[in-house]
C-alpha cells in the first residue's frame, strides 16, 4: 500500500453564477483547513452549506474561484480529475451498468494499463476485503444497494489513492444497513490507514466515523474538532443545535475562578467548568448549552419546573419542562426503573453542571 497524503485547503472560494448569469452565489466562502495523512475527516453541515462543492473541488470536478488546494506537496488547482491521486465514492454509487462487478472494480487499473495478472491479484484482494466474494460475474443491477455500495468502495480502494473521498455514500441505504456499512467503512479505512474525506449531513455518521469533524454552514467553516469537542464544546449556537439536540438558556457570569465560572441562570447559580476556550468577564452575558441527557427530573435539584409534555420513547422518557421563561427538553434514560411524571406535575431539575457549555454572545 502506498503512503497516504495530506490535503491542505488555503483560502478556497467557489462562486457560481446564478440562473441567466444574474448574480453570483458564493457556495464556498474562504475556507482553510489541513487534513493530515491517514486521518478520517468529515465535512458536516445542512444541505447547501458548501460541503459537497468543497469535496468536488478536491476531486477536481469543480475549479476553485480563488485559493489553493494542495495534495501532498503539490498544488492541484489546475490538475484534471483523472490526473489526481484521488478516488471518490459517489452518493448514487455510479457503477458502470454495462460492466460486471469484476470489470467495474478493475476499470481504473485497466485505464492505467496495468499487467492483467497484477490487476487480477489486486482486484481479488479488494473483493475479499469488502466481502464481495462470489459476486464477481454479476451485473450491478443484480446487487442490493448495500452490495453496490461495496463495489463502489472497492472500485475506489483498488486504485490505492492518496486520498479517498466519500460523497454521502450511505444516504440511499436504510437505517440498519447504514449503521453496518459505516462500521465497515471505518474498519477498512483503519486497516489501510487511508486519508479519507467524507461528506454527510447525518451527524451520527460524522460522529461515529471521524477523527475530526469539520462543521460547515453557509459556505464557511464553523468549527473543526474531534466528535467530542464539537458535541461537548460547540463553538456556536448553530453547531450546538445542529449536532444533537440542545437547550439554550441565557445566563450572566457572576464570578470567575481558575478553571470554572459561576453563572446565573434562571433563578439559580451554576458552577460551569472552563474548557480552555473561554475568556469571560464578570457581568458578561452568555448563552448556556444544556444537553437534554444531562438533566435529571426528580424530587431534588436546583431548578423548579412543571412538566408540559411527557412521551415514552422506549429507551428514554422525553419531557418538556417549563422552568421560568424557558421550556427545557429532557431525555431521562432507562424509564423502566424510574418514576414517570405526567403533564402538569411539579418537579425539580438536577442539571449536570460539568456538561454545561458556555457560548459567547456576539
Amino acid at each position: 500500500m502506498k503512503e497516504s497524503k495530506n490535503v491542505i485547503l488555503r483560502n478556497v472560494i467557489k462562486e457560481f453564477k446564478g440562473h441567466n448569469n444574474e448574480g453570483i452565489f458564493r457556495a464556498v466562502d474562504n475556507i482553510s483547513v489541513t487534513i493530515n495523512p491517514g486521518e478520517f475527516v468529515t465535512l458536516l453541515g445542512p444541505s447547501g452549506c458548501g460541503k459537497t462543492t468543497t469535496l468536488r473541488m478536491i476531486a477536481g470536478f469543480e475549479t476553485p474561484t480563488a485559493g489553493e488546494i494542495i495534495l501532498g506537496d503539490e498544488n492541484i488547482n489546475n490538475q484534471p480529475p483523472n490526473k489526481r491521486d484521488i478516488a471518490m465514492v459517489f452518493q448514487s454509487y455510479a457503477l458502470f451498468p454495462h460492466y460486471n462487478i469484476y470489470e467495474n472494480i478493475a476499470y481504473g487499473l485497466r485505464i492505467k494499463k496495468m499487467d492483467p495478472k497484477l490487476i487480477d491479484k489486486k482486484v481479488s484482494n479488494i473483493i475479499d476485503l469488502v466481502g464481495l466474494k462470489g459476486l464477481e460475474k454479476r451485473n450491478p443491477g443484480q446487487l442490493s444497494g448495500c452490495q453496490q455500495q461495496r463495489v463502489a468502495l472497492a472500485r475506489a480502494l483498488v486504485m490505492e489513492p492518496g486520498v479517498l473521498l466519500f460523497d454521502e455514500p450511505l444516504s440511499n441505504l436504510d437505517a440498519k444497513l447504514r449503521v453496518y456499512m459505516r462500521t465497515e467503512i471505518r474498519r477498512i479505512q483503519q486497516e489501510l490507514g487511508l486519508t479519507s474525506i467524507y461528506v454527510t449531513h447525518d451527524q451520527a455518521e460524522a460522529m461515529s466515523l471521524s477523527d475530526r469533524v469539520i462543521i460547515m454552514n453557509k459556505g464557511k467553516i464553523e468549527q473543526v474538532g474531534t466528535p467530542q469537542e464539537v458535541y461537548q464544546q460547540p463553538a456556536t449556537e448553530f453547531i450546538a443545535d445542529f449536532i444533537g439536540t440542545a437547550n439554550f438558556v441565557d445566563g450572566v457570569i457572576k464570578e470567575i475562578k481558575d478553571d470554572y465560572v459561576m453563572v446565573q441562570i434562571v433563578n439559580s447559580v451554576a458552577k460551569v467548568p472552563l474548557k480552555g476556550d473561554g475568556s469571560f468577564k464578570a457581568g458578561e452575558k452568555v448563552r448556556v448549552v444544556i444537553r437534554p441527557e444531562s438533566i435529571d427530573v426528580g424530587e431534588e435539584g436546583k431548578f423548579e419546573g412543571k412538566i408540559t409534555l411527557s412521551t415514552f420513547m422506549g429507551n428514554v422518557q422525553e419531557y418538556y419542562v417549563e422552568v421560568g421563561d424557558y421550556t427545557l427538553f429532557v431525555e431521562a434514560s432507562n424509564p423502566s426503573g424510574r418514576k414517570i411524571y405526567e403533564v402538569s406535575d411539579n418537579v425539580k431539575l438536577d442539571i449536570l453542571e460539568e456538561s454545561m457549555h458556555l457560548i459567547k454572545l456576539s
Partner: protein, 347 residues
C-alpha cells in the same frame, strides 16, 4: 407536432396519390423544376419554413421545460407489466388490428411487383424485376452506397454532438443544440432548394456531386440521432462518467468506454434511422440528383409518373429488402461494440 411538420412537408405521397390537390411541397418542386422559377420556389419554401419553424420553436420552449434523471448508477428495477385482462385485451386487439392493416398495405407492394398489371391481369411474372435490375441497377447501388456512407457518419457525429450538448458547457452550446435539431423542422424540399442555392455557385460548387447528396443525407437525418442521444444521456446520472474520470480516464476514454456503450441503443437508433431515411429520402434530394447519380426513390417516382406500377413495386420491394438487411447488419455490428446489449438496462 412532428406529424404536422412531416405532413405539411411531405412530398412523395401527395405527388404520387395527390391527384387534384396541390400541397406546398409539391408546388415548390413544380416551380423549381417545371418552370425553372427558382425565386418563386424559394419564396414558397420560406412559407413552408415559417410554418414549421414556428411550431418547432413553440414545442422547444414550451414543451421541453422539464428535466429528468432516471438512470442512476444504482441501476433500475424491472418494469411492471399490466396484468388485468380487461385492460390488456382491448388494447392488444386494437394494436393487432392496426398492425394488420399496416402489414397488409406493405404486403401489397411485393405482391404488386410479381403480377403483370395490378387490377387487370393478375398472372405471375418476374418481368418487373428483370426490367428493374437492367435499368435501375445503378440507382440501387448508388442509393445503397450513399446511405451506407452517410449512416455511420451521422450516427457517430450525432452521439458526439449529443454528448457535447448534454455534458459539456461551452460558448455557443445552446446555438448548436438549436441548429442541430432545426433540420427536423425544416421540410426536405426547403433543404434541397437551400443546397442548390448555396452550392450552385462559387466558392463551393457541389451541385451534381455525390458529396452534396451525402451531406444532404447527413444534415437531414442527424437531428433524430442527436435527439435520441440527448434524451438517453439526460437520463444517465453524470456521476457515472465522473466516476470513470476519477478513476483516471480522460475525456476520450470516458466517452468511448462509458458513455458510448451506455447510449448504444440511441446510437443504433440514429444509425438505422439515418440509413432508412437516406434510402427513402425524396423531397430533399430531388433537386440534388444529376445524370451521374440516380436514387431509388426518384426512380420509383418516375415509374409511378409514367404509370408503371409493377416496376415501381419491384423497386420498392428491393428497397425494403436492402433496408432490412442493412438493419440486421447494423444490429450485429453495434452488438460487437463493447459488450452485449443485454447488459444495458436503460429503463
Amino acid at each position: 407536432m412532428l406529424v404536422f411538420i412531416k405532413s405539411i412537408a411531405d412530398f412523395g405521397n401527395p405527388t404520387a396519390i395527390g391527384g387534384g390537390f396541390n400541397t406546398l411541397a409539391v408546388q415548390v418542386y413544380q416551380q423549381a423544376i417545371g418552370n425553372y422559377n427558382m425565386a418563386e420556389a424559394a419564396a414558397l419554401s420560406i412559407i413552408l419554413v415559417d410554418i414549421s419553424l414556428l411550431l418547432f420553436i413553440f414545442s422547444k420552449y414550451f414543451l421541453e421545460k422539464k428535466s429528468y434523471v432516471t438512470v442512476t448508477g444504482k441501476t433500475a428495477k424491472e418494469r411492471v407489466l399490466i396484468d388485468e385482462k380487461h385492460i390488456s385485451l382491448p388494447i392488444g386487439f386494437f394494436c393487432l388490428f392496426a398492425s394488420i392493416i399496416i402489414v397488409a398495405l406493405y404486403a401489397l407492394v411485393p405482391l404488386g411487383s410479381f403480377v403483370k398489371l395490378w387490377g387487370i391481369n393478375y398472372s405471375f411474372t418476374l418481368d418487373h424485376y428483370r426490367y428493374a435490375f437492367s435499368m435501375g441497377k445503378k440507382a440501387i447501388i448508388d442509393t445503397t452506397i450513399f446511405s451506407a456512407i452517410s449512416a455511420p457518419i451521422t450516427g457517430i457525429l450525432g452521439m458526439i454532438i449529443a454528448y457535447l450538448i448534454v455534458r459539456k458547457r461551452f460558448l455557443g452550446r445552446s446555438f448548436i443544440d438549436f441548429t442541430s435539431v432545426v433540420g427536423i423542422a425544416v421540410p426536405g424540399t426547403v433543404i434541397g432548394i437551400g443546397y442548390i442555392l448555396a452550392f450552385n455557385s462559387p466558392p463551393i460548387v457541389l451541385t451534381g456531386t455525390a458529396a452534396i447528396i451525402i451531406i444532404a443525407f447527413i444534415a437531414r437525418t442527424i437531428p433524430m440521432g442527436i435527439k435520441s442521444g440527448v434524451n438517453t444521456l439526460q437520463q444517465i446520472d453524470p456521476s457515472i462518467e465522473e466516476a470513470a474520470q476519477g478513476l483516471g480516464a480522460n475525456s476520450f476514454k470516458v466517452f468511448t468506454t462509458i458513455t458510448l456503450p451506455m447510449i448504444k441503443p440511441a446510437f443504433l437508433g440514429g444509425l438505422i434511422y439515418s440509413f432508412i431515411k437516406s434510402m427513402t429520402a425524396l423531397s430533399a434530394v430531388i433537386f440534388l440528383i444529376s445524370a451521374r447519380f440516380r436514387l431509388l426513390t426518384i426512380v420509383v417516382l418516375d415509374q409511378v409518373e409514367v404509370g408503371r406500377f409493377g416496376t415501381a413495386s419491384a423497386f420498392s420491394t428491393i428497397l425494403i429488402i436492402i433496408v432490412y438487411i442493412a438493419i440486421l447488419i447494423m444490429y450485429k455490428a453495434v452488438g460487437l461494440l463493447g459488450v452485449s446489449k443485454d447488459n444495458i438496462k436503460l429503463t
